[in-house]
């Protein structure tokens, strides 16, 4: 279509040499368009296929899931989902509950603790501020391997080893510094004029934080909370190490592994369980993802 236009234009101008120039600004040749879409379609295919295949498999019986001639539909039904939800294949709902509890508690605690510190780091110039900021960055570097033994020791001492609360504390060691850093970044985008206007209107520094900055940073809080949640939701190492071997204390990340241990390869059931776990996560992810890129747009109201 575009090349046809271009050809027509160049013909009327009577110069084939103009054909290339006659593309209007921002237009692409057909070839470039095909290349662009081709690249994007292949990338999207690679990106989606593994998950798509899990979805397909989740409807197949376990025996068909390991068939050497895979088909899209192979005696597909929803039995896997029913089995998983009814607990016939391990305490799925229990694991789900544990994951929600642990991730939820971690999120609440981390965001609550991190918010005020993030604000102080964003607004106040107090001695020690720089070293704190650098410290939070440095903690990003800590391999869990250096902390795992002392934390294990600490939990043993506190009697929290094998308990959900213990795991929450352990997760806080990584999520709190990270959330602080993230929230500081969001608070930085709220103009300080707003704080000062609030001070003039009669708020204390804490009042400014609570009544003006927190409401304005809601998108940032949402993203940070989501991040904390996802970190705890998908964590494997500490969960494997610190939760007791009893089935009812497992999180999803640990529990699902039993589907595919040596003597059990229940790919159909694992797939169904995976879809059930992924669905809410994916849904929430797409709700907050625009904030991940765009940053805060609600921040400044300037003329």
């Amino acid at each position: 279509m575009i090349t046809a236009n271009a050809a027509a234009v160049s013909a009327t101008r009577g110069g084939a040499a103009l054909a290339k120039l006659a593309l209007r600004r921002g237009e692409r040749s057909l070839l470039a368009s095909i290349g662009l879409h081709g690249a994007l379609i292949s990338a999207s295919f690679v990106s989606v296929f593994p998950i798509f295949w899990v979805l397909v498999t989740s409807f197949k019986p376990d025996t068909k899931a390991i068939s050497p001639q895979p088909k899209l539909l192979d005696e597909s039904n929803i039995d896997n989902y029913l089995n998983v939800l009814s607990g016939a294949k391990g305490d799925f709902l229990g694991w789900f509950g544990n994951s929600v509890l642990i991730a939820g508690l971690t999120t609440a605690l981390a965001v609550f603790v991190a918010a005020s510190t993030g604000y102080a780091l964003s607004r106040f110039r107090f001695p020690g501020r720089r070293s704190l900021l650098l410290g939070f960055l440095a903690i990003q570097m800590f391999p869990f391997a250096v902390l795992i033994v002392p934390l294990y020791n600490l939990l043993l001492g506190l009697g929290l080893q094998g308990r959900a609360l213990g795991l929450v504390l352990v997760y806080c060691s990584t999520t709190v510094p990270f959330c602080t850093y993230m929230l500081k970044g969001y608070f930085d985008t709220v103009p300080t004029d707003i704080d000062e206007a609030g001070r003039m209107d009669g708020l204390s520094p804490f009042g400014v934080f609570w009544r003006l900055v927190l409401p304005l940073a809601k998108p940032g809080l949402a993203v940070t909370a989501f991040y904390a949640f996802v970190t705890a939701w998908g964590e494997v190492a500490f969960a494997s190490a610190f939760l007791s071997a009893a089935d009812e204390s497992k999180t999803l990340a640990v529990g699902l592994q039993v589907f595919i241990q040596q003597n059990r390869t229940e790919w159909g059931h694992l797939s169904a369980a995976s879809i059930l776990v992924a669905l809410p996560a994916v849904a929430v992810f797409y709700l907050v993802q625009r904030f991940l890129v765009g940053g805060l747009s609600a921040g400044a109201v300037k003329g």
Binding site: G26, L36, L40, A43, S44, V46, S47, V48, P50, T57, S67, P68, V113, S116, T117, A120, F124, F126, P127, R129, L132, I139, M141, F142, P143, F144, A145, V146, L147, I148, V149, P150, L151, Y152, N153, L154, L156, L169, C172, S173, V176, P177, F206, V230, W233, G234, V236, A237, A241, A253, Q257, W267, L270, S274, A278, V282, F285, Q289, V293, G295
Partner: protein, 305 residues
């Protein structure tokens, strides 16, 4: 002193909770972890209040470090594991960045169905990683995985992807690259969109070709975002545990420093905490050295952070 407190009272009150959390959950354990590397602590001699058993581990000096750094197979073959870790880290980060940048550039153009492409391309980030890992294990399965089915149809060899060979390292790297590209893409896309449009127009007026515009406008414009995400990428990948652990278990061909530390912590009859901690401290030292050099290199290029 009083004036000092009056002025900064609010700031310190607001910072205190995090300082406490970090102190109790990070700094104190860190110090203790470093101490443990000088002992022979393991499951049998750690203090366990549940069993009403006091600690009975002993100070052994630098013995753990000597064992580990000797590169002995029974202590995880440190040097060859380090090489594997470096291949894993830089291979993954390199492809994360290159593929991520490529996709970000494509998606930053006005393309029909751009929104849809973006949603599809971010999917690997949205799915909990342990689920993705299961999905890939299924794809990579040598007997009934769809990858080998496809290769067989084309008449190509069908290798054992996750077996006892270096192919397993390649496979886990593929999985991790697939997992990490969306994050890079999204951050770099943000960076691309923050480059003022006028710069491209000015470059065009100056007669710069598309390649020259990429070299002289896009890449410098992405410099600060890139230096940050690459640094974070290296640190995260160096420490990344769950992909390898969930895909390949304790396969020595995919063993990197962190997974070995976890092996020593979690399995074996004795659960050797001292060696696990030693690995942890060595990993941390390596990262610190890397960050130091990285910062210096960035500063030389005029990047201040």
């Amino acid at each position: 002193m009083r004036a000092f407190l009056v002025r900064h009272w609010y700031a310190y009150a607001m910072v205190l909770p995090v300082v406490i959390v970090v102190g109790v959950l990070v700094l104190f354990p860190l110090a203790q972890g470093i101490y443990f590397t000088l002992t022979n602590i393991n499951e049998a001699n750690i203090a366990n209040p549940v069993l009403d058993r006091p600690a009975s581990y002993e100070f052994v000096g630098l013995q753990n470090y000597l064992h580990v750094l000797s590169g002995s197979e029974s202590y995880g073959a440190f040097w060859s594991t380090l090489v594997r870790t470096l291949i894993w880290t830089f291979g993954c980060v390199f492809f994360h960045y290159v593929v991520g940048l490529g996709l970000a550039l494509l998606i930053n153009r006005p393309v029909r169905m751009r929104g849809l492409y973006r949603v599809l391309l971010i999917l690997p980030w949205a799915v909990p990683p342990f689920i993705s890992v299961f999905a890939w294990r299924y794809l990579f399965n040598s007997q009934y995985g769809i990858l080998n089915q496809g290769l067989a149809t084309l008449g190509l060899p069908t290798p054992v992807w996750l077996g006892q060979s270096d192919l397993a390292l390649f496979s886990v790297m593929v999985i991790n690259i697939w997992l990490g590209v969306p994050f890079m893409m999204v951050t770099l896309l943000g960076g691309l969109q923050s480059i003022p449009h006028e710069l491209y127009e000015a470059a065009e007026m100056d007669g710069a070709s598309p390649w020259q515009r990429f070299r002289n406008v896009t890449l410098p414009g992405l410099r600060s975002v890139s230096s940050t995400v690459i640094l974070l990428g290296v640190i995260w990948t160096f420490n990344l545990f769950h992909v390898i652990y969930l895909t390949a278990g304790q396969n020595p061909h995919t063993r990197i420093l962190v997974t070995y530390a976890f092996e020593r912590f979690f399995s074996g009859a004795t659960r050797d905490y001292a060696v696990a901690s030693t690995y942890g401290v060595l990993i941390l030292s390596l990262l610190l050295v890397f960050v130091m050099f990285y910062r210096r290199a960035m500063r030389r290029q005029g990047e201040v952070w």
